[in-house]
């Protein structure tokens, strides 16, 4: 009798396993959730993620159900939001650096849910990290800025002093310096990812102090509109901002998350998802560029195109030694390139030649 019962339990469990398997493949769509730092209408960072989500939805069709939550502050709110999403989803994407600790915390409590944290560096069995090598994009616009500036001052509107932002400043400066030894970079920190008024004030302050090419690592189109009005140049950030600066925008760095999102959600569907560390750039198509503005001299355009080609073939690295740190101590030896971890992913210093003081 006990044998009979055992076999029936066995049969049942096999049946349920088969059921679970088939439902996994065909019936049950993957539930994916995305946490955004800003509004999708910022036409910058969050907009780019949302475009990626749209792409994934289109590609996967009925296989995925997506939930997105906008404007989630990087404080205790985010942990609450991530927790509530973890309860109802198979995979949760947290798309800002500041979500790192909450993501890890929640991931430990929900070991069966997959997490994907953007731009961070902490991995778990159920937490992947992914980031784009934006600094490769900064390399290209740095070269253009170095050529285009007449005042030799590049203005940089920065958000928070985190590794990703620091990498961008260093990369842009090194590239600009390589084509224009006299170039300087002025950095203004606005301590916000999204505050159009303040971003515009920062742009005005930089222009008043002589900057004639602006770069930004904030999410709105405000600085681009100021650049257009004041007749200086700027670069689109995270998406094509041509519409806000038809004359001002020389090109723009575009973040293309779509294929990555589609792949990762498909991996959950197929049961092949494993924790991974993705750091993709121009080569993998995660970093793209807006069309070059025709108001640039052909040589400058060609040089930028060449840099993009070199990056896409992996022929150059924006951080190639010799490079010293700002205090003069050596960082990379002749011909050396930095490893992803810790050098790139935890970067917390300016390179030699930047005048601005490193924020504390």
């Amino acid at each position: 009798m006990s044998k009979g019962r055992f076999s029936s339990i066995l049969k049942l469990s096999v049946l349920s396993a088969v059921l679970a398997f088939t439902s996994n493949v065909s019936a049950d769509p993957v539930k994916a959730a995305f946490v955004y730092i800003g509004p999708t209408g910022d036409h910058g960072w969050t907009y780019a993620h949302d475009e990626g989500v749209k792409y994934a939805k289109e590609k996967l069709g009925d296989d995925v159900i997506v939930t997105t939550i906008e404007n989630v502050a990087e404080n205790s709110d985010s942990e609450r939001v991530i927790t509530s999403l973890a309860r109802k989803n198979d995979i949760v994407f947290t798309t800002s650096f500041g979500y790192m600790n909450p993501t890890i915390k929640v991931a430990k409590r929900y070991p069966d849910v997959k997490f994907e944290h953007a731009t961070g560096y902490m991995l778990e069995d159920n937490v992947s990290v992914y980031s784009a090598r934006f600094y490769e994009g900064r390399h290209v616009i740095g070269k253009i800025a170095g050529r285009m500036t007449e005042s030799n001052v590049i203005g940089y509107i920065a958000s928070f002093p985190i590794p990703e932002v620091i990498r961008g400043i260093n990369s842009a400066f090194l590239a600009a310096k390589s084509v224009n030894p006299d170039v300087q970079i002025k950095v203004v920190w606005v301590y916000s990812w999204y505050d159009p008024g303040k971003e515009a004030d920062a742009a005005n302050a930089l222009i008043a102090q002589g900057a004639d090419v602006l770069m930004q690592h904030t999410d709105s189109t405000a600085a681009m509109t100021v650049a257009e009005e004041k007749g200086v140049h700027a670069f689109g950030q995270a998406s094509n901002m041509r519409e806000w600066g038809p004359n001002a925008q020389l090109t723009g760095i575009i973040n293309d998350w779509g294929p990555y999102y589609a792949d990762r959600i498909a991996a959950v569907r197929d049961g092949t998802w494993t924790s991974s560390d993705t750091f993709a750039g121009v080569q993998q198509g995660m970093v793209k560029f807006a069309p070059m503005n025709n108001n640039m001299p052909t040589e400058v355009k060609n040089e930028a195109m060449q840099a993009i080609i070199d990056l896409s073939m992996g022929a150059i690295h924006p951080f190639t030694g010799p490079i010293n740190k700002q205090d003069g101590s050596p960082w990379l030896a002749e011909g050396e390139t930095p490893p992803n971890f810790p050098d790139l992913l935890t970067m917390d210093f300016y390179v030699e030649g930047i005048d601005s003081q490193y924020p504390n």
């Binding site: 203005g155 971003e199 102090q209």
Partner: protein
């Protein structure tokens, strides 16, 4: 109220290109939101602080929803006026005589508010209602009507303030683009200890420091941005403390006695 003003100003400017209509729309928008506040607090006697908070959240959500179609658009900004001859005076010219019309409007409004509050009969009544609504009611003034109008006026001004962001500072509309600036208005009123002209001083100080710290960074002056942004609030606290001390010594009518209190005529 500010964010709704910013949105409505933007929408009207986008469709009509007429800055007067745009500012007027922002004014009406701020008024509309404040009329909800006025109705709730004056007729339904709800708690003013809680109602204010709820309306702020409502305004942010509503404007984000209503403005969804406009995040892709851009408009023509309201340009600064360069007063001929005067604006050519070195230093003072660009500083005083070539500002944005909305800035001049702000100065004018401060004067008008002062004139209304301290030089007209209605202003006197409004102030007396603020100090003792029961007494004002007892001598026959319509407390609720005065307060309703005052709230509408405040809403209108907040709406125009919001329009400054989307019509003067940046030609874009973005959800939550006020980024909490409206709260500074509360700090300003305390800072100015309810005196209209001190508002100008406070506003210049608050705004000036915000911009100054960005410039200071560009010049690489070694003051942490966070310390500088703290300064206006620190000043407000100091002023509050000194007000208290002065109040102890003599009767000083700086803070309206009925601030935040609910008026109910039968009580």
């Amino acid at each position: 109220m500010m964010i709704v003003g910013a949105l409505l100003g933007f929408i009207v400017q986008f469709h009509t290109g007429n800055p007067f209509l745009a500012v007027f729309a922002a004014l009406l928008g701020g008024m509309a939101i404040s009329s909800i506040f006025a109705f709730l607090t004056q007729f339904l006697l709800t708690n003013q602080v809680a109602t204010g908070l709820a309306l702020t959240l409502f305004g942010l959500g509503f404007s984000a929803f209503a403005g969804r179609g406009y995040t892709e658009e851009t408009i023509v900004l309201i340009k600064a006026i360069h007063i001929p001859v005067l604006s050519d005076i070195p230093f003072i010219g660009p500083l005083v005589f070539s500002m944005n019309p909305l800035v001049y409007l702000a100065f004018l409004m401060v004067y008008l508010v002062w004139w209304f509050l301290f030089k007209t009969k209605q202003g006197l009544i409004l102030r007396s209602i603020g100090d003792n609504h029961d007494a004002a009611h007892a001598i026959g003034h319509n407390v609720v009507r005065y307060r309703f109008m005052a709230i509408l006026f405040g809403g209108a001004m907040a709406g125009v303030g919001g329009a400054f962001l989307s019509l003067v500072q940046v030609p874009i509309w973005g959800e939550d683009m006020t980024a909490g600036r409206g709260w500074i208005a509360l700090g300003l009123v305390v800072f100015a200890s309810w005196q209209p002209f001190r508002i100008i001083l406070g506003a210049i100080l608050f705004g000036g420091i915000t911009v100054l710290q960005l410039h200071a960074q560009g010049f690489d002056i070694r003051i942490s941005a966070q310390y500088l942004s703290m300064l206006p609030y620190l000043a407000t606290i100091i002023i509050l403390v000194s007000l208290r001390i002065r109040l102890k010594n003599k009767t000083n009518r700086t803070v309206p006695n009925c601030l935040g209190r609910i008026f109910h005529s039968t009580s």
